[in-house]
């Protein structure tokens, strides 16, 4: 019989895949986990889980992988990939300690793709403490996500919150650009509408000053307007041009 009495709630962590908009319910899960473990006797198939539950206050890493609504296909090969990814994360974090696939021990797998796991140092049975494992996972989170083609939202390590990506803030806020375009068009429009009639009126005034005489419309046609109908009599032409004194 395995004694779980020394199990500390604080030492549990879950690794579970979550669906979008998932609400965290870690503590409840932990409590129920404890209940379940205490209630059932499960023949332990895996290596380290049970042995290290007895009287140790070594922290243990527990994880659940749960598949999302698209029914992530889980198999032994996928589990192997997970262990390999985690071994990579450990190697990367500890800078060279040769963690192997055999050092990652999943246990208590359920029907649902969720399980616990512990990590041992290479070639020994010493457990790696939770803090180190967490830091390693945090560092290589992207790579682990990528291995499974999942995201922070669909693959979750309980207790390890993803560092939030900084929001994209472009150099010029886009709304200023739109504002600039709209206001530019409006200003040009206002100026155009105000200036155009003034310009028109000025042109008209000039035109008016030029042919003020022709406004009479009493039939007298000067040379500028309608004199081309008849025969041009050069005797009566405007000879001021020639006789300037």
């Amino acid at each position: 019989m395995i004694a779980y009495a020394d199990f500390k709630i604080e030492s549990l962590a879950y690794f579970s895949k979550k669906m979008p908009n998932h609400v965290r319910w870690v503590l409840q899960q932990i409590k129920s986990r404890i209940e379940r473990l205490n209630a059932l006797f499960r023949p332990v198939m895996h290596y380290n889980c049970s042995a290290h539950h007895e009287g140790t206050n070594m922290t243990e890493e527990a994880s659940n992988i749960s598949s999302d609504t698209a029914a992530y296909p889980w198999s032994k090969n996928e589990m192997f990939l997970f262990r390999a990814a985690l071994a990579f994360a450990m190697r990367d974090y500890t800078n060279g300690e040769e963690f192997g696939v055999s050092d990652i021990h999943p246990c208590d797998e359920t029907e649902r793709v969720s399980f616990w796991f512990v990590v041992t140092r290479p070639n020994t049975t010493d457990l790696v403490d939770k803090g180190t494992v967490e830091m390693a996972i945090k560092k290589s989170r992207n790579r682990i996500n990528g291995a499974f083609l999942l995201t922070d939202q669909t693959l979750e390590f309980d207790g390890i919150y993803p560092t939030l990506a900084a929001p994209v803030s472009p150099a010029t806020p886009p709304w200023l650009i739109v504002f600039g375009v709209v206001m530019g068009a409006v200003s040009v429009g206002i100026i155009a509408l105000l200036v155009y009639p003034l310009v028109q009126r000025k042109l008209k005034k000039n035109k008016d000053a030029d042919d003020e005489d022709s406004d009479e419309e009493t039939g007298v046609k000067t040379a500028e307007i309608g004199a081309n109908d008849g025969i041009y009599n050069s005797m009566f032409s405007d000879d001021e041009r020639f006789t300037q004194m």
Binding site: S16, K18, M19, P20, N21, H22, V23, W25, Q28, Q29, S32, N64, S66, S67, D68, T69, A71, Y72, T110, E111, R112, V113, S114, Y161, T163, L164, A166, P167, P174, W175, L176, I177, V178, F179, V182, M183, V186, S187, G189, I190, L193, L194, D215
Partner: protein, 617 residues
């Protein structure tokens, strides 16, 4: 052209379509989209249409017909018309002027908000779809986490609202430039009076219908649309027994048609005299109500879609909780068999089930979350738009539609200010109309800077609730009294006969003489009683409130209450003041009543110089 010589000609519409589009645009405003569907929803869906249509027929159409007829016949703006009928009621026009100005000021602020959202819709992802991070970058901003990103964007990033109306905060610069843009756009459309405005209404009055149709088709194809529509239109006949329903229907029709602003009188005065204003009035009134109905269909489809999305999200959450807790393999519990599993697990493992404290996912409850006003446009709609594929397009279309709706109503407000101002001869003659419009827009902009303060939203609601309600009722009442009793039913019938070729039938006469004034009086009295029963309160956005994200209900402080009273009284104070002034003046000049008419005035004899000038032009 007659511009620099001789009397200035009254501007004219280019064609009838311009006139009708302008009137329809003035009547159809943002309220048709965000007020009517809300009323329909809370007053029992299809059943609300009955008091609404009754109010339209007995109150709305007669008032509309009256205003259009009076303007067209007397060919003057709102001040000139009442002065002509009888100088004693000249104050009605001044009241219209003040109301139009005050309404224009806060209405354009709403358009500034619409512009802000429009400018921000050109981003991917939309800025109201995610929460920003807090300073230490470890988690989302606390205020945003507690409420929703959409709420946060509206209250914090757009308005930067203070928790109380007394705390004024500082001027929001983003809002100031949006307000400036809004006033510039209004100015450019109004720069040449109705010449430029008449061209602008071709776009601003027709574009909303196009967008509404697009939204209608899109909304009807969204999942959950039918739920929303069913909820909207299922009649609940019990609500008809509630007198509040009739009161709200009457007030809604009244404010929706934009009567008593003076703008309609001015618009119809630019018509030619022989124009069938009866048909115009009926047309405008019917189109306004039809637009309200037409707009409520996509609004409610989208609300139904939003409720369904929220329901599915709620169910998904619960499914995840259940699957994790009871450790089923995935896909066992799905949205389809959710109810079955829910019941089964509840009955077989009640203890464990309760310990999960799952959220209650009820579609009816989600649909009941009714919103109107800015809440509908800037919170509910923007949230729905995020879930639609191609969000930016829908957001841009929606805000451009709102802007067009509001802009065409602003034209009526500005006209209601400019036209009386010209008639009162407050400004010297040599100032061109472009400059007058610019001055009015500038003054309105400066006054509206009040609404760009952090507490601006609260002030907009104060103005919206009190300027646009009681004074209009009083002005409309005096308008009917003025026409029917001062001008006389007989003279008015003759006027209509001259204009349309037939006298008004018994229905119109009965409405004008008895039914409409009575209805208005009842509505006014009931309105005042309802308002006076409780001390007015407002909903404040207070992040420190214990029930945050719910809004906190606060009482208006005394000085705000005094301002409210002022807003209700100042527009209508001119009516008794002018009446008193005219009566006193009449008493002193009782002997010289004929001094106005000069028996030696021969209009046929015009001086030579004037004739020459007109010929040359």
């Amino acid at each position: 052209m007659g511009k620099d010589a001789g009397p200035e000609e009254r501007p004219k519409w280019d064609n009838k379509a311009q006139y009708l589009l302008t009137c329809i645009g003035f009547a159809v405003g943002i309220g048709n989209v965000w007020r009517f569907p809300y009323l329909c929803q809370i007053y029992g869906g299809g059943a609300f249409l009955i008091p609404y249509l009754i109010a339209l027929v007995f109150e709305g159409l007669p008032l509309l017909f009256l205003e259009l007829a009076v303007g067209q016949r007397l060919r003057k703006g709102s001040v000139g018309v009442w002065k002509t009928i009888n100088p004693v009621i000249g104050g009605v026009g001044i009241g219209c002027l003040i109301v139009s100005f005050l309404v224009g000021v806060f209405y354009n602020t709403i358009l500034a908000w619409v512009l802000w959202y429009f400018f921000h819709s050109f981003q991917e992802p939309l800025p109201w779809s995610t929460c920003p991070l807090n300073e230490s970058r470890t988690d989302y901003n606390l205020e945003c986490k507690k409420s929703t990103p959409v709420n946060y964007f509206w209250y914090r990033e757009t308005l930067n609202i203070t928790p109380d109306i007394e705390i004024s905060g500082s001027v929001e610069w983003g809002m100031v430039i949006c307000l400036a843009s809004a006033w510039c756009i209004v100015y450019i459309c109004f720069i040449k009076g109705i010449d430029s405005m008449g061209k602008a209404v071709y776009v601003t009055s027709t574009f909303p219908y196009l967008v509404l149709t697009i939204f209608l088709i899109r909304a009807l194809t969204l999942p959950g649309a039918t739920d929303g529509l069913l909820y909207l239109f299922t009649p609940d006949w019990q609500t008809l027994k509630n007198p509040r329903v009739w009161l709200d229907a009457a007030t809604q029709i009244f404010f929706s048609l934009s009567v008593a602003f003076g703008g309609l009188i001015s618009f119809s005065s630019y018509n030619e005299e022989k124009n069938n204003c009866e048909r115009d009035a009926v047309l405008v009134g019917v189109i306004n109500s039809a637009t309200s109905l037409y707009a409520s269909i996509p609004v409610f489809s989208i609300l139904g879609f939003k409720a369904t999305t929220a329901l599915n999200a709620c169910k998904d959450e619960n499914i995840l909780a259940l699957t994790n807790h009871f450790e089923f393999s995935d896909q066992n519990i799905t949205l389809q068999n959710y109810d079955y599993w829910y019941e089964y697990l509840n009955t077989t493992y009640p203890g464990k089930f309760q310990s999960l404290s799952l959220r209650e996912c009820d579609l009816q409850k989600l649909l009941k979350q009714s919103v109107s006003g800015t809440g509908l446009a800037f919170i509910v709609f923007t949230e729905a738009v995020i879930s639609m594929p191609g969000s930016q397009v829908w957001a841009v279309l929606f805000f451009v539609m709102l802007f067009s709706l509001g802009l065409s109503s602003m034209f009526g407000n500005i006209e209601g200010v400019l036209s009386p101002l010209n008639e009162l001869k407050l400004l010297p003659r040599w100032i061109p109309k472009e400059l007058t419009s610019a001055i009015i827009c500038l003054i309105s902009f400066l006054v509206a800077l009040l609404f760009t303060l952090s507490s601006g939203n609260y002030w907009v609601e104060v103005f919206n609730g009190y300027v646009g309600s009681v004074p209009l009722l009083i002005i409309a009442l005096f308008e009917i009294i003025g026409v029917i009793y001062f001008r006389g039913m007989k003279t008015f019938s003759d006027d209509i006969y001259i204009m349309t070729g037939k006298r008004p039938n018994i229905f119109w006469k009965a409405c004008w003489m008895v039914i409409s004034p009575l209805l208005l009086l009842v509505v006014f009295v009931a309105y005042v009683i309802v308002q006076a029963q409780t001390r007015p309160t407002y909903q404040a956005w207070n992040p420190d409130y214990e029930k945050f994200p719910e809004t906190e209900q606060k009482l208006y402080p005394d000085w705000v209450f005094a301002i409210i009273i002022l807003l209700c009284v100042v527009p209508v104070i001119s009516i008794p003041l002018v009446a008193l002034y005219q009566l006193l003046r009449g008493r002193f000049r009782k002997s010289s009543v004929g001094m106005e008419l000069n028996p030696y005035d021969n209009d046929a004899f015009v001086t030579d110089t004037q004739e020459q000038k007109t010929q040359r032009a």
